[in-house]
Subunit: 253 residues, 4 copies
Amino acid sequence: MTNTQVTLIQIDNYGPWTVTPEPRREVDLQALQSRLYADLSQLFGNRNGYVFFSRFDNMIAVTNGMTIDAHALIQESIANRYPVTISLGIGVDRTPVDALGQATSRLQEAGSAQDRTRQEILRGEMLDESQRTDEDVQIAHFDVNNATGEYTDRLNEFDTFIQIEQGYAELMRYMRMAHDSLSFFVGGDNVIAVCSTIDRPAYEDAVEHVRSTVGVDLKVGVGRDRTAQDAGMAAKRALERCREKGTAVVLDL
Amino acid sequence: MTNTQVTLIQIDNYGPWTVTPEPRREVDLQALQSRLYADLSQLFGNRNGYVFFSRFDNMIAVTNGMTIDAHALIQESIANRYPVTISLGIGVDRTPVDALGQATSRLQEAGSAQDRTRQEILRGEMLDESQRTDEDVQIAHFDVNNATGEYTDRLNEFDTFIQIEQGYAELMRYMRMAHDSLSFFVGGDNVIAVCSTIDRPAYEDAVEHVRSTVGVDLKVGVGRDRTAQDAGMAAKRALERCREKGTAVVLDL
Amino acid sequence: MTNTQVTLIQIDNYGPWTVTPEPRREVDLQALQSRLYADLSQLFGNRNGYVFFSRFDNMIAVTNGMTIDAHALIQESIANRYPVTISLGIGVDRTPVDALGQATSRLQEAGSAQDRTRQEILRGEMLDESQRTDEDVQIAHFDVNNATGEYTDRLNEFDTFIQIEQGYAELMRYMRMAHDSLSFFVGGDNVIAVCSTIDRPAYEDAVEHVRSTVGVDLKVGVGRDRTAQDAGMAAKRALERCREKGTAVVLDL
Amino acid sequence: MTNTQVTLIQIDNYGPWTVTPEPRREVDLQALQSRLYADLSQLFGNRNGYVFFSRFDNMIAVTNGMTIDAHALIQESIANRYPVTISLGIGVDRTPVDALGQATSRLQEAGSAQDRTRQEILRGEMLDESQRTDEDVQIAHFDVNNATGEYTDRLNEFDTFIQIEQGYAELMRYMRMAHDSLSFFVGGDNVIAVCSTIDRPAYEDAVEHVRSTVGVDLKVGVGRDRTAQDAGMAAKRALERCREKGTAVVLDL
């Protein structure tokens, strides 16, 4: 049974800041956002967590095993190095979507994302150390079959991008609705999903759903472990086995 | 009449590199990709260009005014600082999508994106200085009406993300099909489109299309100038005027 | 009694790389070196260690509490993100200088710093967990008395820099010769020293030595703890107390 | 005749910020400082300038060819991405030390480096475009003869560092006193000096002075050009010729 600890990272009052006193240069905002994400990826990654950039002003992390103190230290480290601050809400649940729901509520209860006085909130529930198991986090790593040969080397790059993007948009929606799972595009033709306890037929169904709906062919490797990092690495290795064996779904559970 | 110079930036042989000799840690790949993008954003930005992360292993830039030497210097600078190299294809056309088509073809003709021996390609056509005008680049900056109040402060963050993502997926497809334009999600609830010469009714039509198709309410500010940076800043200011006036489309052409 | 674990970080074959096939642009080398240092500062810092940039191609870290696995992970993370690799030698001793001596020997025995085939060495002795105490690391944080009023706001910046630099050059030499301690300039008018078990008269003597030899007035706060980070923070707080009380030496041991 | 445009970059009110409300974590300050330097190195480097980290809170740049607008854009870009702001003073003179003197005075006249209300000052004189020549900037690139064989591969790394540091401390002082030149350690065993119009005997004298005073053997390549970047690259190539020919001084003027 999965038991996922999810952290919502929200830049405080970011929208207003980007246009105060007048719109800031886009190239600086892009550098700011992507470096903030890179740093968070390392800060959470050093503690066996995963962060996804999602909307950049709101990022979502899987943080099984991370304490409230570790969260506080990350919050402080960002404040020491960036012109913006971050708020953190944390939730734990059998399904990733409900864990994120709790994490989100904790920030929403503290005030609006665009409330100037709501800064550096840190609230939430941690997974108790005694309750942790090697089945807590289930990660699925999807990619597109032969994306380079089918798309990248043949189409206008934007048309390739449209294909990947439509595949992702459909997969993210379906996995959330059908399986309470959170799917994130991570670059190239890759999507990483943080899943509830779902089995082989469910993955086969998702792959089939995306193929029949938007015509994009996926394969997926799945791993399960105590932390995001370990489950994610198992998923990557399982995906390599898909490649070698030519199969659409490999589970390493 | 727009005349857009577009550069395709492709990491050489990236997919294979990420799994050689075995899968590399995802948190490092994410840090690598997002910092590479941040650096390119600054390198092109310092020359009045814009870069969009799109798929991260393939990024798309608007580079009016940038010479082949400037491109070569950027290519060298990345090789000096990263474990990967980049190839650059450049195209110029009345429409952004055709300019990107040329840029893409130039790399495809040089070999596969996953060909180990195809490295640091630099090919393409530049916009001749004598032909440049103040109407060459048209940029549209879209955002979602009251995204914070409607979504961020109310929904589970993933459901907010789904809304934004479905709006983007629909807009990117429509703007490409109907208007030969390239639209990129840039974080939060923002999309920046590199457009051909399109007018107010076309923007109104796109906003209406997204509303009626996926139920997401957009507004858009549009700017036009000699470079991406100047056109983009005009678009941001126009978007601020949408906000002040409560209108869906403001053109500053 | 101090018992310091010291890690020597050496970029593999760096000198030759910087001029192959011809000299690389200095601005890229500077960005590469300083970002590598920033990343190491975070990677070691996330594990309660301190890194000093010293010569940038050779950096020195205090790593009490860090395992060989933690070192291996840092080594791998750098290889995943940089065009260069690093070797790590680790030593433990009563005095920091002897610990570094062991760390250095381990790399020297593995080959020259400019041997192309000597890559990613990882060798050394760790401080056994059972032997660790709250007195293992002693850190002294020095700064120059009223540097802003005396120098920065009055002299040509280079002449200020010369003063600070001569003070540092004298302090580093004296602390090493007289007290087997390693002193590092860390920016502004600050020097952090990793010390053996030395007492108040020894610090008073060092401050007096620098004043009488090169005319630079220092003060110093000293902390001691289980890790570099905790000892260093205690030293900073002690230095604040010097400032408040107007005294030259405050020990928080 | 050299004619050097020098910019002093000063972080506003940095010292107080680092200890407010209490001392900030050193590993964050180190990451902040070194990344700020890396970014400035790229921002100035993209405009053919050089920046030296010197004290990190005060950095010194050679900016021949850069306008006041380019300086303003860099200032704005840093404010958009960092929790601190920078002030810039600019001076031009036959000798680098006097150019820096003017740059320093402009900031000192605007207030103290630790005045909370003195922020983002931008003042100074630019080198007029019509007066620029290919002899404006003279750069000397020094390194230590056989540093790897003599020191790195043989001594405790701190003792190597002491040798390099004593050599640098002596060279920086001598070049400033005898030749109005500004010398900066740039990592490894390398020092880059921004020089006035000095000739071969002067370089031979400096090399001899350092050898006889502190026993460190240097060699030096010298270049001259319109910008720091071009002069610096010529100096690097000249240093390669020293290596090949086994001579102590090569001038490419």
